[in-house]
């Protein structure tokens, strides 16, 4: 499948891929910063007019979600995948006795 070859090609050149992605990201922010290129009439809040606002929002939002979710999970929500099975086994043992 040529798809596999394509992915192999990219995986062999991960450094170049990363560099190109970085350039694309930088270009995005720069384009946003140049006044006139991206019309800000649609922006509804003052914050949105800051160039690169959404980039920062995306990155920080991602970080916040990951860290926040992990904290939430450690607070007791996340359990071993056998949690309910162990429970069922304990209950059956108890009723059998």
């Amino acid at each position: 499948m040529n798809m596999v070859k394509w992915i192999e090609f990219l995986r062999a050149r991960l450094g170049a891929v990363a560099r190109i992605s970085g350039i694309v990201l930088a270009v995005l922010v720069v384009l946003d910063a140049i006044p006139g290129v991206i019309g800000k009439e649609q922006a509804h809040t003052r914050l949105e007019r800051i160039p690169g606002f959404w980039a920062v929002f995306g990155f920080l939002g991602c970080a916040l979600l990951i860290v926040g979710s992990k904290l939430f999970g450690r607070a007791g929500i996340v359990q071993h995948e056998d949690y309910y099975d162990r429970l069922a086994r304990r209950n059956t043992d108890r009723t059998v006795q």
């Binding site: 649609q42 959404w54 979600l65």
Partner: protein
């Protein structure tokens, strides 16, 4: 002009019931044709009110066709076709029958003009979809199916109670339209709760990840589309603009995202994400403006297609390898590249990348929230969008197809491309995602209100690309933190899965103690007087009653003994006595006469 208006559900129900009679060789053709007929019927229906039936006291309306119901009916027809193609390889008819009855229930509920018809089809949906969970056959699936059924039966009862109360208040008018949002009666709230349960609004949502992860490969594709979106339709129809739906929707959107980040099972992650996306739709319904309702409908339409596509992609992995958890997968790009492409297209659509369907639909709801001067709602929904791309656009493809190869040798040996019918179904869904995204009049033409929204503006494209690509950056920076672990996340179903055991144990103890106390009471206050009374009765019987009877018998005997000796054996004495008695009798008779 046809006298008898053919309801699309009727075609599907008949199709489902007749499926077993179709000879095996013709079955694939039959499976393709019936949903296509239904889809064509849905597309060619005229607007209006049809199928009015007078039943007992009520006037039922089976076919209320307008823009709102048509857009939902249209996409249900589409997903039935796509889902049936996806499941074409299944030999047993049971799953197909269940899926078609399920879709028929949804179409019936969508086109229902009164609440009684709505309820009947609502229950049809619940009772047929449970078989899509049970058909998987594993013990977890059987247990999950029971929980699903119980939760939906409870929701259905709540809905019915609400409908009856609303009908009472309106003196027999069960017409299904916008409720009076300023005067919500208890019945209206119960109906809302019934709808909210099907829409998986927390805390009534735990059945969704439970059942969708346990369902069959094909079944979950149908389930991801149908139950929740029918509930969204019902909310749009009955409660558009209800303020409480806005905070509920925003909480839902973030709740689903948080749980999805923690999830190890790919299909459970997608299920939690359904909760998140429906949160967008519920927010849209709550905002209530024309743009918001348009957004909710557009988002529902696009969501059915791309969520179906995502479930199809992960389902294909499950079908081929037997695994759905990230801790058992990884590195599959070498074996299943086509499924990777389709899943990535689904992920890009759901994340609202430009040129894909999510871009032209989800943004309407966010724009509506800004228009209504509620920027917090918009910002929080954008945060949910960040999370969406993070786990569905990045985490799912990365940890299944790239990342660390956690595959066991048997899993790796089994892995290959999915069967042709699955790829065709996924291809159709992918094409639709791109088509809807690029050619907006297709979707916008179906929406209930006129659309003035222009998604492809430089600002919007720049905003979206910045948001998503920098989220991608964040993903790769924090990828180690997201490494999968063999865990599950507890949710509100803990209350009835674990909490129930606790409740029963505690109740048993207390009930036991009460029972013992009651036994003691019975002994002291009940048994003793009873025994005393019994002793008294026995004494009475022996002394008084028997005494009376025996005494009477003894006196009769002694009197008889005395009389015996009166008669001495003299004939003349006896004869005289006899004649005297006869004479007395004759005199008496003569006197009486």
């Amino acid at each position: 002009m046809l006298e008898f208006w053919v309801h699309p559900s009727l075609i599907l129900i008949l199709g489902a019931l007749l499926l077993r009679l179709v000879p095996r060789k013709l079955r694939s053709a039959y499976l393709l044709i019936v949903p296509l007929i239904v889809f064509v019927r849905v597309c060619t229906m005229q607007n209006g009110v049809f199928g009015r039936v007078d039943f007992l006291d009520w006037s039922l309306t089976f076919g209320r066709v307008d823009a709102l119901s048509s857009v939902f009916g249209h996409v249900m027809g589409l997903i039935t076709v796509i889902g049936t193609i996806y499941g074409l390889h299944i030999k047993e008819p049971g799953q197909h029958v269940a899926a078609w009855l399920y879709a028929a229930g949804a179409l019936g509920a969508i086109y229902a003009g009164d609440m009684l018809t709505l309820f009947a089809f609502w229950e049809l949906m619940a009772f047929s979809s449970v078989f899509l969970v049970w058909s998987r056959g594993t013990p977890e699936a059987l247990a999950a199916g029971y929980r699903y059924l119980l939760v939906h039966a409870a929701g259905g009862s709540c809905l019915l109670a609400g409908i009856v109360m609303v009908g009472q208040l309106s003196r027999g008018d069960y017409n299904f339209g916008l409720f009076d949002l300023n005067n919500m009666s208890i019945g209206s709230w119960l109906v809302l709760i019934g709808f909210a349960l099907n829409a998986a609004v927390p805390p009534l949502h735990a059945w969704l990840p439970d059942a969708y992860a346990a369902g069959t490969v094909t079944g979950s594709v149908f389930m991801s589309a149908i139950t929740t979106k029918t509930a969204v339709y019902a909310l749009c129809r009955g409660f558009a603009g209800l303020p409480v739906l806005v905070p509920l929707g925003v909480i839902m959107a973030l709740y689903g995202v948080v749980y999805a980040v923690l999830e190890n099972d790919s299909r459970k992650l997608l299920a939690y994400h359904v909760v998140s996306q429906v949160g967008f739709m519920v927010t849209g319904v709550g905002l209530g403006s024309e743009l918001a309702i348009n957004g909710a409908c557009a988002h529902a339409f696009a969501h059915i297609i791309y969520k179906g596509l995502l479930f199809m992609g992960c389902g294909a992995v499950l079908h081929v390898t037997g695994q759905s958890r990230f801790t058992e997968l990884g590195g599959l790009w070498q074996k299943m590249p086509l499924a990777l492409v389709f899943t990535v297209i689904g992920g890009l659509s759901i994340s609202a990348f430009p040129l894909f369907s999510g871009f032209v639909s989800k943004s309407m709801i966010v724009a509506a929230s800004y228009e209504l001067h509620r920027p917090w709602v918009g910002m929080l929904l954008m945060l949910a969008s960040v999370g969406t791309f993070l786990h569905t656009g990045l985490k799912v493809p990365y940890f299944i197809w790239f990342g660390k190869n956690n595959c066991k040798p048997e899993t790796w040996a089994r892995a290959k491309e999915a069967p042709w019918n699955m790829n065709v179904a996924m291809g159709i869904a992918s094409a639709l995602c791109i088509f809807i995204g690029c050619y907006t009049p297709y979707l916008y033409g179906m929406l209930p209100f006129p659309v003035h929204f222009r998604p492809y503006t430089p600002y919007h494209i720049s905003e979206t690309l910045q948001l998503l690509l920098f989220t991608g950056l964040g993903f790769f920076v924090f990828v180690k933190k997201l490494a999968p672990e063999p865990t599950i996340s507890l949710d509100t179903d803990w209350l009835y899965r674990r909490g129930w055991n606790l409740f029963v144990r505690v109740a048993q103890q207390h009930v036991q103690r009460f029972d013992n106390w009651l036994g003691g009471l019975y002994r002291v206050a009940g048994l003793v007087p009873v025994m005393t009374a019994a002793v008294f009765a026995s004494l009475f019987d022996n002394r008084a009653v028997d005494g009376l009877v025996d005494g009477f018998a003894t006196s009769v005997r002694s009197i008889g003994a005395r009389f015996r000796t009166i008669q001495r054996g003299a004939v003349q004495e006896s004869l005289t006595f006899a004649f005297a008695v006869v004479l007395l009798l004759l005199v008496a008779v003569a006197l009486l006469l």
